[in-house]
Amino acid sequence: MGKKMNSEPLGKLYNGGVTKRRREWRGIKDTWYDYTRWVGNWATMAKFMLNVQNLKGFFRYRWMSNFLSVPDFVDRHTEGLRGPQLRIAHKEFDFIVAHATDTIANLFRGDANIGGDPKWSKKVVIFDENMMTHVINGFPNLTAVTREIPPIYMGSVMRQDGILHYLDAAEEYGVPSDVCPMPAGELGLAIEDDYPQVGCCIIHCNTTCDGSLMGNGIEDRRFDVPTFELAVPIRYLDEETKDYAAQEIKNCIKFIEDTTGEKFDWDAYFKAMHTFNEETRLFLEWLDVSKTDYPQVVGNNVALYRDAYYQVAGGRDIGFLKNEQEITRIMHEAYEAKTPIVSEVRHRAILWGVQAQYYSAFPAWLQNCWGIQPLIDMLSLTSTEIYSEDDKEQAYYDMADLYAKENMRNRSEGGYQVGVEDLWRFCEEFRADVVIMYEHIACKAMTGYHGLFEEEGRKHGVHVIWVPHDLMDPRTVSREEMRQSVNQYMRTILHEEPLDPSLESIDDGEAW
C-alpha cells in the first residue's frame, strides 16, 4: 500500500467474489482524488435516478441492473494508476458515465413502454450500435440515440456476464451459439421485449459486418417505424467506391428529411465538424506523445473514450472537446515532468484486433502485471483526417469516409493494407516490440489474416501474442484464459518474471 506504482500486490484485492475486498490505497493525495471522483459518480447516478421516468426504466429493463456496478467499472479501469494518469482516466471514464446517463435518459424520455413523451419520441432518430452518427450533425432539432449501446455494449463492459441472459434467449430461439455475441445479444434483447420503444425512424449500417446488418433487419419487426439501410463500401480505399458511398449519404439524409420533415442544416453540420476537427487535432497530439519515451494518454485511457467521442458524439457535444483540452493540458505537464505510467516499462505494445468487451480493463492488467505498456489499440486508430468545414459537396464524401472508418470496421474491413500492413507501420512509429493480437473467435472478419500476422511478425522482429476471446461471452474464453495466453508467452518465450506476481493468476471468474 502506498503512493508509488506497484507498491501493493493488486491481486490480493480479489477474493473470488463479485466485488473486490476493498479499494486501492494510492497514497493520501491520489486516494483522496479517487474518493472525490467516486462521490462525483454516485452524485451523477443519484441525479439520474431522481427522474421518475428513469426510475420506471430502471425497474422495467433487466439490463439496467448492470449499471449498479458503475463504480466498480471505473475502479477496474483505473487500477494501479497514479498521478496524471489517474486524473486523465477519471476525466475520461467519469465523462463516459455522465454521457451514458444522458443517453439512457433520452431513451426513457420517449419510451412508449414506460409512458414516455410521444412528442419527444418523434424527434429521436435511432442509430445502430456500432455506427457513426455524423449525418445527424445537420439536424439540430433531432436527437440521435444509439439504442443498443446501453443494454448490449455497455452491459457487457459493466459486468462480464451483463448480456448472458440475452445470449441465452437468442440461443433458445434457435440461433447457433458460435454467432458473434454482439448481434446475438441484440437479437436476444428483441426476443425478450427489452428494447425501449422510442424513435421516429431507424438508420442501420453494415458496421461492423453484414451479419450485424442482417440481424438488425430482423429485429425491426419489433419497431413499427421506417428504416434505412446505409450500405457502406467494404473496400472503401478503392476510388471507384467513393461516388457510390457519397450517394448513400445523400440518400440517408433525404430519408431523414422525408421521415421527420426537417431540413439538413449546413451551418449546424459545419459547426459540429469544426468541433470534431479540433478533437482530431488533440488526438494527434496524444499520439505524438505516445510515440516518445514518456507516453501519457495510452491503454485504457484511449480505447473506450475514443469510441464515445469519435463515433457517438461526432462533434455535437462541446463538452467532449473541453474535456479533451483539459486532458491534453495534464498530458503535456506529465510529459514535461517525464512521468512514467508504470514502475518499469519492459515492452511497448500495440493492441490489434477487436478487444473483449467483458475484459475492457485488460490493458491495465498488462501494464500492472508484466510492464507491457499498451500504447494504442486498433479500434482507436481510426480516421485522423481534418474534414471540410465549408464545402457542401465535399462534406458528403467526408461523411462517407467517416462511416467507412468507424471504430469497429476501419481495419477489420478495408482489406490487407489497413488490416495487416498498417500494423507494422504503427509498430515502427510507436517503437513497439510487442503486438497483443486479440482474436475474437466468433468473428470471421480477420480470421483469414492469422497466418499472415505470424509470418509478418517474424519478419519484423515483433512478438505477436495471441489472446483469444469471445467479445461479450466470457463462458467461451474466460478472463483468466486471456491472461494465461500472455503469461505463457512471457514465461516460456521471453523468460520474464511478472512485475506484480499477485496478478498473474486472479480468481475473478465471478467478478463484475
Binding site: 466485488t19 476493498r22 490505497w25 467516486w38 425497474f59 422495467r60 441492473s65 449498479l68 463504480p71 425478450e192
Partner: protein, 55 residues
C-alpha cells in the same frame, strides 16, 4: 450568537460524520458489496414483468 455557533457546530459535526461514513464505504468497497447483494432480488422483479416474448 451562541445559537449560531451551535448550529455551525452541528453542521460541521454532521458533515464530518458523513465524510467518515462515506470514506469507510468507499475504502471497504461497501457500496459495491451492497449493489452485488441487490442484484439477485432485482432479477426476480424483472422475471415477474409480463413480456411479449417473440420476434
Amino acid at each position: 450568537m451562541g445559537k449560531f455557533i451551535s448550529i455551525i457546530k452541528t453542521v460541521l459535526a454532521v458533515a464530518l460524520a458523513l465524510f467518515i461514513l462515506s470514506w469507510i464505504v468507499y475504502f471497504f468497497n461497501l457500496d459495491m458489496k451492497l449493489s452485488a447483494a441487490l442484484y439477485n432480488p432485482l432479477q426476480k422483479i424483472y422475471d415477474m414483468r409480463k413480456r411479449d416474448k417473440r420476434l
